[in-house]
Amino acid sequence: MNIDYLSLLVVLPILASIFLLILTSRLNGFARAKFDAPVRMAALIISLAMFMLTTLMFLGQIGDVGWSNIAFNTFEFQESYVWIEQLGITWTVGVDGLSFPMVWLTTLLMPITIIATWNEKSGATYFPLMLMLGGALIGVFVALDMFMFYVFWELTLIPMFFMILKWGGKDRKYAAQKFFIYTFTASVVMLLGLLTMYFLMDTQTFNMQEMVVQASGANANGVWLGLEVQKVLFIMLMLGFLVKLPAAPFHTWLPDAHVQAPTGGSMMLAGVMLKMGAYGMFRLPISLFPHALEEFRFIVMMIGLVSLVWGAIVCLGQTNLKKMVAYSSVSHMGVILLGIASMQPLGWAAALFMMFAHGIISPMLFAVCGAFKHHYHSMEIGAMRGMAKHSPWLATSMMFGWMASLGLPLLAGFVAELMLMVAYWHAYGWWIIFPGLVLAITAAYYLWSMQRTIFEGGEATQPPESLHGDPVPDIDNSEKIAMLLLAAFTVLFGIMPWIFLDMMDMWTRSAMAFLGLGGA
């Protein structure tokens, strides 16, 4: 039986979410609250089914794909249907070594996020939005048609906008709008770039695979579309992705969005949505305009370095736990740009693995922040000390997450950072001082924040007044399960990174060879 699994992964959660939203939208107040539990269960079952599906795909039970042998620009599970015939727009899906880890990660995070935010209020609306977000994200990763890619790219904004707006913190109104407008602005510029490119092509196509073939054919004997044009288009496309990533100086939407977003929103935002930017860079501008990348290599490196250093330094000054974690995301995303700019297969693989590892670790950080807020009614570092005594589970999770983010060996983040350092040394030599320095800064702010939350000391040892003297509870069982799962995967991919690193490595090597770049 020939089932189009990838389209199923995209369409199923979106349709389910629309169905659930419409089903409960006519109900008000009390009647609606009764639907929270069944809707949540439905969302969990659907997302678990999706996770099962991608895992079986990976294990070869479905499709029997040799994942570590997928060369650049070949795709598995490829399916194509006509969508808008008159414009040559198709619904084309497929996965390769670049996109599959992201698809798997999305399906992994969806059930974990649902579990971690099990008791979110107005669940009858919240969980369907989570499903819609997941479907749209997978749509971005599997789309092989430029139009489809853009549609899903924008579609991810809508559920996230509502999640921030409805379940967010005090300044959610400002944050939600800022988030939407920043991303939208960048992506319309990207859209104009895509369309300009479309009309400059010899054979006009929206199909990314054909585009890459066409571009590389021309790039082999010269510069596709001419260097000047290639540079302008590269900038226009990169702008869209850099804002999403986000890289300095376009990162200012991220701390606002993160701090105001509900825990589940932050987990998905940091876990997968930021990676859309990095994914898009690899998929479009880098694959299409390698000459422009070579031209702008140093600038990309500088943007990455500024994000890395600036993000880390700003972290040092934060007193808000969630804001600190948000800026640490900016810092880590800078690493991806450094990996790209190293122009080494190893550096690219490091960037890809960074996307993946950060996708597992950062949701854990935000889950910890969410639990902290939930139980101590505050996000201020130092507002509550002695967590190890009151909430040992939370303290342990926090320490684990912080250490993973710091790059402790045997945890997933370490693998990516080590690979990056090696590649960066090869490419830029003594510039390595800066990322090296950042490691020290990172250790500083993480240790500082742990010291002020986990351990006792000072007057803030007592639980905050908003608890009215009640004993401080430890985290809920659902939160425990989610954090355990995330921790388990962090260890798994720290010890056995090759599970996904193999296919990433294959992708980067063949991509570099295909594009005629770097030291391949």
Partner: protein, 561 residues
């Protein structure tokens, strides 16, 4: 293409939708007046039943009857137009001429698809008006006045006459006929805007709209007289031939400029847009929606006819149309002005009016690109024009759904007592989740977020501009592209700016607490909700599967040439 002289059965067949409107018009005038009135033969005491006046029959005294008749008429006319569109091909066309061979009307896909836009907008507005109340807060005795049968009849008669006027504009092959149709439609809309004369906003908006509109019409008429002086005829093909032979002269240029003013007012392009926000906020919402969709499409139609049929350069010649610079500036100013003004308006209707100005700017940008169509692409000159015109038609077609839909949502709020502040929308997400979702869909569609129809239309417009600008496809730098490319860039930047005020509506609906005295679900108005549902379905459906409509628009665009 067959020419037809004089009146005969063929003509009736070709003009079936217009005749339907005409019959409907007569019915609305006659049916509500039927009664048991009698006529006394003079000098005798014999009274003959005369059926007019007296006590009206129960069946025809219903205040809803004129509305139902109008909806029925419009639905039949729309059905006829759609049947024609599905049946016809781009090469079809039927010319209706006078006895001495002067072309008056031409029925082809291009004119018919515009009629479909007009009728769809008016039909939705008529459905929505079936059980609506006036703008502003009204005392209950005023409501009786407004629900009075005769006054309802006036409202729908004006709707039908504006439909008739618009279809005359769509069909016209002669500038003068076009002008007559334009005035018929304009006068109907002037009165419709001022229809709620009891409210201050209604009469103010109506008066402003009337004064500015008639000045624009007068200038246009003056331009027409100069065109006649120049060419000796107002036929499109005669004018086009004369333009091709003589090129631009100062007289013809000036005449053309004056004519354009008339149309620019209709599409509310800057700097002729000043009356629009007042008119929209004074009129009741369905009427404002008609102004923003059908009336605007009519102005755009006029612009296309004049700019594309008369003054476009020869297809195989290099170079661009003479008006390209002027129109480009106008487009840039219009879209930017509209968006910036919309940012600062707290009245949602004024906001929508300015967003309508911005959309006029986008459409003008696309027209500007057509002016550059010969630039570097002699091998496929004409194709680009088809693409851009098709994009414009598609844009105006889908605009009916989300622009009118947004106005209709405000219309629901008006029933509760006004929608003149953004805060009237507050809490809609809790009070009426489905209406709030629909409004949000309309807003993001206006902003051009996929997968809504507004995205597809904006995509098509930008694609048209970029296709023209990139020409034959070999550029050494972006600076070598035609400058209309920068209009596309301005357009996407403007889209981003517009996101601010569209999103604000969503934020207000979901974030703010309802205003004092507004609680719970809104008054039910089944008909307006049906119209909103139709709009929402259209907005999503044409965004997801707009292929067939694009095909239709392309055929229509092809039949313009």
């Amino acid at each position: 293409m067959s020419a037809q002289n004089g009146f005969n059965s063929d003509m009736f067949e070709a003009l079936a939708p217009e005749l339907t409107l005409f019959v409907g018009l007569l019915l609305i005038m006659i049916v509500p007046n039927l009664g048991n009135g009698t006529f006394r033969i003079p000098g005798t005491s014999i009274r003959l039943p005369w059926f007019f006046g007296g006590t009206r029959y129960k069946a025809v005294a219903s205040p809803r009857l004129p509305g139902l008749l109008a909806v029925l008429t419009m639905a039949v006319a729309l059905f006829q137009v759609i049947c024609y569109l599905l049946d016809a091909s781009a090469a079809d066309g039927k010319v209706i001429s006078s006895e001495n061979g002067i072309e008056i009307f031409k029925v082809n896909m291009f004119s018919r698809i515009f009629e479909a836009i007009f009728f769809a907008a008016l039909l939705l507005a008529a459905i929505a008006s079936l059980d609506r109340l006036p703008t502003g807060s009204q005392k209950s005795d005023d409501i009786d006045v407004l629900f009075n049968n005769r006054r309802q009849a006036d409202f729908y008669i004006l709707m039908l006459t504006s439909a008739l006027g618009m279809s005359v504009v769509a069909l016209a092959q002669d500038m003068f006929v076009l002008f007559v149709g334009l005035e018929l439609a304009s006068f109907s809309t002037y009165v419709l805007v001022a229809f709620h004369k009891e409210t201050r906003a209604g009469s103010e908006g109506g008066a402003k709209y009337f004064i500015v509109g008639s000045v624009a019409s007068a200038v246009g008429l003056y331009g027409l007289s100069m065109l006649y002086l120049w060419a000796g005829s107002l036929q499109f093909d005669v004018l086009a031939a004369k333009w091709a032979a003589d090129g631009a002269t100062s007289l013809s240029m000036m005449a053309l400029g004056f004519v354009l003013v008339g149309f620019a007012f209709k599409i509310s392009a800057a700097p002729f847009h000043f009356a629009a926000p007042d008119a929209y906020s004074g009129a009741n919402s369905p009427v404002a929606g008609v102004l923003a969709t059908a009336s605007k499409a009519m102005g755009m139609l006029g612009l296309m006819r004049v700019l594309l049929l008369i003054t476009i350069p020869e297809m195989d010649a290099e170079g661009s149309a003479i008006w390209i610079g002027l129109l480009g500036v106008l487009a840039a100013v219009t879209m930017t002005w509209g968006n910036i003004a919309a940012l600062g308006s707290d009245n949602p209707k004024r906001m929508l009016a300015y967003s309508s100005v911005a959309h006029a700017g986008y459409m003008l940008a696309a027209l500007t690109a057509i002016g550059a169509w010969n630039w570097g692409l002699v091998d496929n000159a004409g194709d680009a024009m088809d693409v851009v015109v098709a994009a414009l038609i598609f844009h105006m077609f889908v605009l009916v759904f989300f622009k009118l839909g947004a106005f209709l949502i405000l219309g629901v709020l008006e029933m509760e007592g006004g929608a003149s502040r953004l805060s009237s929308l507050a809490g809609l997400g809790k009070r009426e989740p489905l209406l709030a979702i629909a409004m949000f869909l309309f807003m993001i569609s206006l902003a051009g977020v996929p997968p809504m129809a507004g995205f597809l239309s904006k995509l098509l417009v930008i694609m048209g501009i970029v296709e023209v600008a990139t020409g034959t496809g070999s550029l050494s730098s972006i600076g070598d592209a035609h400058w209309v490319w920068w209009l596309a860039l301005l357009m996407v930047i403007n889209s981003a700016i517009s996101m601010f005020y569209y999103l604000r509506v969503g934020v207000v609906m979901y974030f703010h607490e309802p205003e004092e005295g507004r609680k719970g679900p809104l008054a039910s108005g089944a008909s307006i909700r049906i119209a909103i549902a139709l709009c929402a379905i259209g907005t999503v459906a044409f965004g997801l599967v707009g292929g067939e409509l694009i095909e239709l628009c392309r055929d229509a665009a092809e039949s313009l040439r």
